[in-house]
């Protein structure tokens, strides 16, 4: 099997990086753009792309890691269920995200029956093999929500239910764009989510806020090319939606998948960790699907967890402003004190590409070119 769908030629990467540098020079001032996808974060980190970006270009990690923005009470719901003796299955990403008192990993260590799965399909298979209740603690953005919707619509066994912590990205882009003092001049949107929703879903956003949105894939070349296009649009002051991931994304997207998604889920407002209340940012099961909704099937006694909660640090978290480029980690009272990778407070420290995590690891803005 070939690697032709892996666009990873280093020489091409360097050319694109050089182009980025030229564009930033032409723009003639520091530019901040934001990406809103966990996998963009991972790809940038994994391939060391940050060291290729020109110094005057700030590529900020936005609220794009669905696990990292899962707010504390939502994690708590899963933890409480586990402590009530319910069997939970969830994705690996979710296991270590801190709740008020425990993460799911901690609950597992305390005897909770929590299992890591790779696909919602596995949750169904597990439920079929047992009589006990199995709850899928479902996280991820719309890309993953369609998979959850698919299993819900496919006659799941009666002992299966879903605790939905799914999120929807376009609303949070609005929040960021509207933050006073936000330095973000353009957005890199997630290619896989757009594969489902289509590129046209961003048109109203661009119209309203007059900032460009470029949809990019996840190979190193995709990301660099996406950034080049974004900077071009910023330079030319021509805000529009540009699809730089045509191999997977069309204007209208995957319509059958969209239909399933919105049949099963509805967008409701909710708080994203370290950010704000995001209207329509959370995906909850519609009333029609109450029979598979873990929130309706079980009584989740959240206050039982909060009797002995440590002092709330969340109030001092400034992740929202860090993501908008208004402040940096050193402005945060919690940074590198209470908030470190082992005990993170906000999303920026939970995620591997979060600004705070990066600053913590590198002691500031990364600069590794000087060595050897």
């Amino acid at each position: 099997m070939t690697n032709e769908l892996q666009f990873r030629d280093p020489a091409l990467a360097r050319s694109l990086a050089a182009t980025l540098a030229r564009l930033v020079d032409e723009i003639g001032r520091p530019v901040a753009v934001m990406h809103v996808c966990g996998s963009h974060e991972q790809a940038i980190a994994r391939f060391g792309l940050r060291s290729l970006f020109p110094k005057a270009l700030d590529v900020i990690m936005g609220p794009g890691c669905p696990v990292c923005v899962t707010d504390v009470p939502e994690v708590d719901e899963g933890v409480v269920l586990a402590r009530q003796g319910v069997r939970i299955v969830t994705f690996g990403d979710m296991l270590r995200v801190p709740g008020t008192v425990q993460s799911l990993a901690d609950a597992q260590a305390s005897g909770g029956n929590i299992e890591v799965i790779y696909s919602p399909r596995q949750a169904i298979e597990i439920a079929r093999k047992t009589d006990e209740e199995v709850v899928l603690f479902a996280t991820g953005f719309e890309t993953t929500a369609v998979a959850t919707a698919a299993v819900i619509l496919d006659n799941p066994p009666p002992n299966f239910s879903v605790l939905s912590a799914h999120k929807y990205i376009p609303p949070v882009m609005e929040i960021v764009a509207e933050m006073p003092g936000s330095r973000v001049e353009g957005f890199l949107a997630a290619g896989h989510a757009a594969a489902i929703t289509g590129s046209a879903v961003f048109e109203p956003f661009v119209e309203r806020h007059q900032v460009p949105v470029v949809i990019a894939g996840f190979e190193p070349m995709d990301i660099l090319a996406g950034l080049v296009e974004l900077l071009q649009l910023i330079l030319n002051k021509t805000p529009r939606v540009a699809n730089m991931f045509p191999r997977c994304v069309s204007a209208e997207g995957n319509i059958p998948a969209q239909k399933q998604l919105w049949r099963v889920f509805e967008p409701v407002g909710g708080k994203w960790r370290g950010i704000a209340h995001v209207p329509n940012g959370n995906l909850r099961l519609r009333d029609e699907f109450a029979h598979v909704d873990a929130r309706k099937r079980f009584t989740i006694d959240l206050p039982s967890l909060w009797d002995y909660a440590p002092p709330a640090l969340a109030g001092q978290c400034i992740c929202g402003e860090i993501m908008s480029g208004i402040r940096n980690p050193r402005d945060c009272r919690l940074f590198n004190r209470e908030c470190v990778p082992e005990t993170p407070v906000g999303a920026c420290m939970v995620s591997n590409e979060g600004t705070c995590k990066i600053w913590h690891l590198y002691g500031g803005v990364p600069d590794l070119e000087a060595t050897a």
């Binding site: 099997m1 030229r22 696909s119 399909r121 998979a147 995709d222 191999r247 995957n254 059958p256 998948a257």
Partner: protein, 93 residues
């Protein structure tokens, strides 16, 4: 948001495809992909579901996209590097 990995379809049984990812094989569900998929097609896999079919022309199209970006931005010294890269692309295509 989306660890999505492209793979090539080997076999199809009802709603499930056996997909090859660089030498390892995995079953992937076809419930939500919006086009008919046949063996030999590429699909994009996310959490065990194919979310898109990737057209075979996609590779060439994508490389052309990168080339267009470089072409639109060359000037002076940039020309030489871009020239190198274009010949590499031409060689690989």
């Amino acid at each position: 948001m989306c660890l999505g990995v492209p793979g090539r379809v080997i076999e199809i049984h009802d709603c499930t495809a056996l997909v090859d990812f660089w030498g390892v094989r995995k079953e992937v569900r076809l419930d939500i992909v919006d086009e008919p998929v046949v063996p030999g097609d590429y699909i994009l896999n996310h959490v065990g579901f194919a979310i898109r079919r990737i057209a075979p022309e996609a590779v060439g199209e994508t490389l052309a996209l990168y080339e267009m970006l470089l072409r639109e931005n060359v000037d002076g010294e940039g020309d030489l590097m871009a020239l190198d890269v274009r010949s590499e692309i031409a060689g690989a295509a």
